[in-house]
Symmetry: D2
Subunit: 275 residues, 4 copies
């Protein structure tokens, strides 16, 4: 992995800690859980989801306003309206917000509302977007591309960091393989490799990785034990009626149960889930 410079472990004496709203720290001893619905659907649902995940111990609310959908005929998200709902919900619940940006032209708009800007798998090598993300003063959640090697993923982070922004959270979310029992194949060894070669924090998204809520708890536990600095989990008040990714969303009750289990594992490895 020679071409890594700024994101390489050798570049820094210590692990990078990403600070959200001058308060929440990702990459420190405490493990951060981000949770919420796949997409922002309505004010009521978002608020219900936000309170549910907050109660369970999530410290960041996730929710998509701009949705990358395989088909142009699928629900594309509420866009700016969705961003406003996220901001309102943050005001009411106090939870900072992570949401995706898909186009350089939307970056400033999304940055106005979001606390963390997500660059999704499909845009991991949208180099124009990466460069712009490097010029903005907000933390970036950089998901690994569907078929990106760990080296390519870190070089995508290098694009951001080379423009002056070191507030980068990496997110492993499964890679594409021949296996069809899961939506993607969660590559937890990527967590260990990132820890070895980079100083950046890395979290795991077990929801997109598996595509089935029944598998989310096992993979969330595995991720914490393997050293992840956080999790990104889909939770929906009513998964059966979700406009997207219902089959991989936990109910609030399952999420609460999971958080308790995760705390025990975090403690077993000398860390703590921030709640």
């Amino acid at each position: 992995m020679t071409p890594l410079k700024l994101v390489a472990r050798q570049h820094l004496d210590q692990a990078t800690v990403v600070t959200i709203n001058e308060e929440l720290k990702v990459g420190d001893r405490e493990i951060i859980v981000m949770a919420g619905p796949c997409a922002v659907e309505s004010k009521e649902l978002l608020l219900a989801a936000a309170y549910a995940v907050k109660e369970g111990g999530a410290r960041v609310l996730r929710g998509g306003a701009f949705k990358p959908r395989t088909s142009p005929y699928a629900f594309q998200g509420l866009m700016e309206e969705g961003l406003k709902l996220l901001a309102e919900t943050r005001r009411e619940t106090g939870l900072p917000v992570v949401t995706e940006v898909m186009d350089t032209r939307d970056l400033e708009l999304v940055a106005e509302y979001a606390d963390i800007l997500q660059i999704g798998s499909r845009n991991m090598q949208n180099f124009a977007l990466l460069k712009e993300a490097g010029r903005i003063g907000k933390p970036i959640l950089l998901k690994r591309g569907l078929a990106a090697t760990i080296e390519e993923w870190l070089l995508a982070a290098e694009y951001i960091m080379s423009q002056g922004n070191d507030q980068i959270i990496l997110c492993e979310r499964g890679i594409r393989t021949f296996e069809t029992a899961t939506r993607n194949t969660l590559d937890l060894s990527a967590v260990a490799v990132v820890k070895e070669v980079s100083h950046l924090p890395v979290i795991v998204d077990p929801s997109h990785a598996t595509g089935r809520w029944q598998l989310v708890a096992a993979m969330a536990k595995g991720a914490i034990a393997a050293g992840a600095d956080g999790l990104l989990i889909e939770v929906h008040p009513n998964p059966a009626e979700a406009l997207c990714d219902g089959p991989q969303s936990l109910t609030p009750a399952n999420f609460h149960k999971l958080m308790q289990d995760l705390q025990k594992i975090a403690q077993a490895i000398g860390r703590e889930i921030a709640i």
Copy 2:
């Protein structure tokens, strides 16, 4: 493949023929070869490459002005300056130009200079870019994503077509697999599948697929025999000194030899290489 609508074979009585500059036809009986250097490097090199490929029978000049590079420290292309060189070279040689666009903000600029706009593998699911490409009155060359299923690739074309632009040329360029003897694994069966389920023309890029010039001729021949409507081939006057992708570039001499071989195969299947 149910979600396909506009790009589905059922939608049209006949194959879509993409017309370049009201003259050149892609998707008709004649097979079109597009060739040139990976990147626009200088006026002299581009012109030399253009004359070389024209002499060999290429009908379109390829050359990147905006280059998607894995590392931020690699040559990123000459950008607008490169576009101008492409336009100059077109004036001198008469060859229409295909070049990549990577960002919605650059689309109009690139469209000013290019005859065909290429959307590369890494941006195959940059949905904002696809939508804008659908609103512009120019042919689009849509490369298959590194790890995109054929269905996802066709749905990316559906994004473009749903915005009103049906001038789409699909381009198979290899997918990512475990095999390391080649840069990617050229999936020629994708050509046959596309012909079966869609009315859009499909061409093949054996240069990026194999990553080694020694394998380009065999794969170009295979592509024509398998039914491809064209080829996209990297040719450089001096591959050893190319700023990018030298190892996969043919010399002009090898390109000329290849074109003669391809003509025989085209005729064997009742087609013709347009020269």
Copy 3:
């Protein structure tokens, strides 16, 4: 590819030509087509298939007596009875026979009846079987494993050759990838790579590679144009009622049509289909 020794191009001055029954040559200028049903089902069906493929120009009859099936509850083949039917059919039609061997204990039995012993994808790294195949005086058809690199495949051939048998025909039959539109992904670049690094002949099985008869013709043509020394094609008198792999089997009529098309492509590259 340093570890190759006996199978490496450097080891020999010329391409290895595999001779079947002191008569048929694989790896020479003439291209050999092997065809027949997936499995030996009955004397009548096998004979009908054999005459049909012979009439079309096939020079070798394929047919499985021992069948490697994913489920223990699927038809496992007629075993020794199937071998006897193959031998009878050879007597009547004059076509030499290629059939699979799956277990070291069956090797001598299969060798008694078959002219070419096939080692299938699933056994490509059954090293005990490879070693025994190296000690027997019969040509071996060695299929590439589902997820074998080209180097591993050639090293499997090295196992055979290191025991004294150089009569090895390699067979590319598709590798496992994320794509689901085809049963496997046919890697035609493997043909070109093998030709570059080894002296052994290589053929292509478009039937198993694609899994759908509709795609077989395009891939067979692509294979010949890319330089394959032969083809292995499934043909069944009545694909709809085949006990295995019906969806990928050609009818005799489609096979005859294909053979005529292949002859033209063979001639375009200066070769000939042996008929």
Copy 4:
């Protein structure tokens, strides 16, 4: 996953517990660690390794006498001599032994010496071997094939169980993907899927999965947290001089440290590492 019968969860009221030497239980509340060198190299090294892993808490000694090697020129194992050394070492240390069998002809011989017979990745679809393994009265450790879907892996177990042997331990050991930072990609979600659809116990081999000892601890922890019933870990008294797989072998000291960490995670999920 419809074709599963005997191995399906629906077939049994409870999880299958595999019993080794009427004493050790795999698939029960206690988690079993199997450890030792890749290959049996000499009496001294094997004994040293055995005492080292026993001291760390391993309950089964692993070690290959028959080695499946990609190249015929690599060390192929000590074969029967290796089996005898394993049996001697068992006598001295009391540790039961797991070792690989690669050929139907060797099955009885290996069964004479081994307590658990391992069927390796490359032989996961060696159906003759699976059937014989089903007829022998010993536990079978069935590794997942390099490119086997979970369904195919379970159907391989179905082959064994359909012959009367239900003493099957599944072992996830990484699948082949495009990622090259690790030897294979460990698919921990396979553990969760197996637990969902089958009653068979499943363990994880983090050594072969990652190929680098630096990553073994993280993946071993992840595996336990995700629900694995055991681990298979390579430990060598002197990894730098191992005849095979040195780079993925732990030193005894690292193994002891790991076992202490694993115990805490096991307890966090309500289980216990058997020591």
